[in-house]
């Protein structure tokens, strides 16, 4: 019977061939490591957030007089409401964790390089959407951190030339963060995840066009590709199991470690908490904001620090595939960058003192410098590595790429010749 239904559908819609071609039979490099699990995990967390979010929204009330109470209603009275809320709150952190690892993987192995630039840029778009979604969600419980976080972040737009103040008021729909802000944030917080779904779809269509990269950096011959199912379904599910164990430890045993104590105090527009900090996933960027002693400069630096990822395909001029795998200097740069992120995160967390501000400023300079030196180190490193010698299959690939490029150029020239 199911066979007949599938047959009926197949005559009208390419169901079986789609599943076979794009899902189960999708040719995947056999040497993908566990670092390649994180894309799947991100998709899983997205579904988890939407599921818990929809059920929370059945009990949540977006109204400054009711929000805080409705969260307590969820935590105390709703059946398993505490579980839904902790799953959602921890899930937001899990989402960023998974995405950060996913991005670090991409940076390390150079997966952003041609022909995967569009994947990198859609990924960048996803990061921005995720940040916006999480930021707006964080206002919803209407605690002290929610309120002051939203106040500070909406005030960033004061840096806009000419219309700064008007834009801030327009964003809030009020002179301060108020009822209008809360209701629009709820509306958008509900909407954005579905836009994220759409963006994920584009991300995946691009992936299926250019195919997965792999740790060796070498485009594997067809014999080294294996079907996604059953090999990567089982590998992804095993990885999911590990992820869920860690996630559950947070949800069931230390959920409050991810919720700032001050967010258990209702929002009070008349009093700012002594120590306001954003969620951990914003800390490095927040530290960069605080490191620049000027409103506009700080905002620009922070914006640039997030957008700068997008320039990676242009900055990295190396012709050697595989990212850090064959490139010791690029590898060093990668680890320094990660370390710098941790330092910035720490600086963003502690209250500003002259000491931490200085550390933050040094780390900020290192942050940007680590990008600006990439074009230089990638060229110099290439020269050095070519002289020292690279594995033959890597050399072969580089030569092939150079030939392809040449051929494309010739073709283009010929075509132009034909026309004129």
């Amino acid at each position: 019977m199911p066979g007949r239904i599938v047959e009926w559908i197949d005559q009208r819609f390419p169901l079986t061939s789609f599943v076979k071609h794009e899902l189960t039979g999708y040719p995947t490099p056999r040497n993908l490591s566990y670092w390649w699990n994180f894309g799947f995990l991100a998709g899983f967390v997205l579904v988890l957030q939407v599921a818990t979010g929809i059920f929370l929204a059945m009990h949540y009330k977006a109204d400054v007089a009711l929000s805080f109470d409705s969260i307590q209603h969820i935590m105390r009275d709703v059946n398993y409401g505490w579980l839904l809320r902790y799953m959602h709150a921890v899930g937001a952190s899990a989402f960023f964790f998974v995405i950060f690892v996913h991005m670090a993987r991409t940076l390390y192995y150079g997966s952003y390089r041609a022909p995967r630039e569009l994947m990198w840029w859609t990924g960048q778009g996803l990061l921005l959407l995720l940040m916006a979604t999480a930021f707006m969600g964080y206002l919803l419980p209407w605690g002290q951190m929610s309120f002051w976080g939203a106040t500070v972040i909406t005030n960033l737009f004061r840096a806009t030339p000419f219309f700064g103040d008007q834009i801030v008021i327009w964003l809030r729909g009020d002179f301060t963060v108020g009822d209008a802000t809360l209701t629009r944030f709820f509306s958008l917080h509900y909407l954005m995840p579905f836009i994220i779904f759409g963006a994920v779809l584009i991300h995946l269509v691009a992936l299926h066009t250019v195919k997965s990269s792999n740790p060796s950096g070498i485009n594997l011959a067809d014999k080294d590709n294996i079907p996604f199912h059953p090999y990567f379904t089982t590998k992804d599910l095993y990885g999911l199991g590990i992820f869920l164990i860690i996630y559950s430890i947070f949800v069931f045993f230390i959920p409050n470690s991810l919720i700032e104590p001050a967010n258990n105090i209702p929002a009070n527009p008349m009093q700012t908490p002594n120590h306001i900090v954003p969620e951990w996933y914003f800390l490095p960027f927040y530290a960069i904001l605080r490191s620049v002693p000027n409103l506009v400069g700080g905002v620009l630096a922070m914006g640039l620090s997030v957008i700068i990822f997008a320039f990676m395909p242009f900055l990295d001029r190396s012709r050697i595939p595989g990212g850090a795998r064959y490139r010791p200097i690029y590898k060093l740069r990668f680890y320094l960058f990660v370390l710098d992120m941790f330092i910035l995160g720490y600086v963003g967390y502690v209250p500003p003192t002259t000491q931490t501000i200085l550390i933050g400023q040094i780390a900020t300079v290192i942050y940007f410098a680590s990008y600006f030196i990439i074009p230089f180190i990638s060229v110099k490193e290439d020269a050095w590595l070519f002289k020292r010698g690279l594995p033959p299959e890597v050399m072969a690939l580089i030569e092939k790429e150079a030939l392809d490029k040449e051929e494309r150029k010739q073709k283009r020239l010929r075509r132009q010749g034909d026309i004129t």
Binding site: R30, D69, Q72, M75, R76, W82, L83, Y86, I226, P230, Y231, T234, K235, L237, Y238, L240, G241, I242, L244, I245, S248, I249, V251, F252, F253, P255, N256, P261, A262, N264, I265, L339, I343, Y346, V347, V350, P351, T353, Q355, T356, I359, I362
Partner: protein, 213 residues
């Protein structure tokens, strides 16, 4: 690298300096019904005149299993469904202390240090040379030394006050997260299950991949 190390070290030092602003005593919470009920009793006598617990209702105390007679005595003629609202009105309180006493339902969760903070604060009173009382943990507090911790620094009396504070904090901890016990219990099952499932998945993955070579 050396400078980096120095920076990291410096950072650690400044972190600990900041965390040590006030040294908190550690409280050994008891989360059995009896201590929580004792804590409720003390709280209803000592704190409830001024502090509200707006997210806690008399019915919640009954559902938790507290003694029916006690709950009836506490609620008087208020309905079971009503919250634990302070006896003193907020206006009166502001008149008297210059500041409204905060709601206690989430107090343990709302302070850095959690139960330890509340415990240390309740016991943090001391007698100043000029006869007035101060508090080590929260010097600006407007609340009087309810448990008389400043006046009972020795022997049996001291131990009694400590026990009272511990009971109150046990109650407030339960109240701030009433499903905590259930959450922990469920957590063991969920994680136990996930370990079994993940082990199975590991073997499935291994078997499937073993075909490749």
């Amino acid at each position: 690298m050396r400078t980096l190390l120095k920076i990291v070290l410096l950072s650690c030092i400044s972190l600990s300096a900041w965390a040590n602003e006030a040294v908190l005593d550690k409280v050994n919470l008891e989360n059995d019904l009896k201590s929580i009920e004792r804590g409720a009793d003390t709280l209803m006598g000592a704190c409830h005149s001024c502090h509200t617990l707006k997210y806690v209702h008399y019915r919640d105390l009954l559902n938790f299993g507290m003694d029916k007679q006690k709950v009836e005595a506490w609620r008087g003629d208020q309905p079971l469904d009503s919250a634990l609202v302070a006896q003193m009105s907020e206006a009166d309180a502001i008149n008297m202390f210059g500041k409204a006493p905060p709601d206690l339902s989430l107090m343990v969760k709302a302070r850095e240090g959690g139960p330890n903070y509340v415990y240390s604060y309740l016991l943090g009173y001391y007698q100043k040379p000029d006869g007035s009382t101060g508090n080590h943990i929260y010097p600006e507090t407007k609340m009087p030394d309810i448990l008389n911790s400043g006046g009972s620094t020795e022997g049996k009396q001291h131990a009694e006050v400590q026990a009272q504070a511990r009971d109150i904090v046990s109650f407030l901890t339960w109240v701030s997260d009433p499903h905590e016990a259930e959450r922990l219990r469920l957590g063991y099952y969920v994680i136990g299950y996930l370990i079994v499932l993940t082990t199975l998945l590991y073997f499935v993955k291994k078997q499937v991949w073993s075909k490749l070579n």
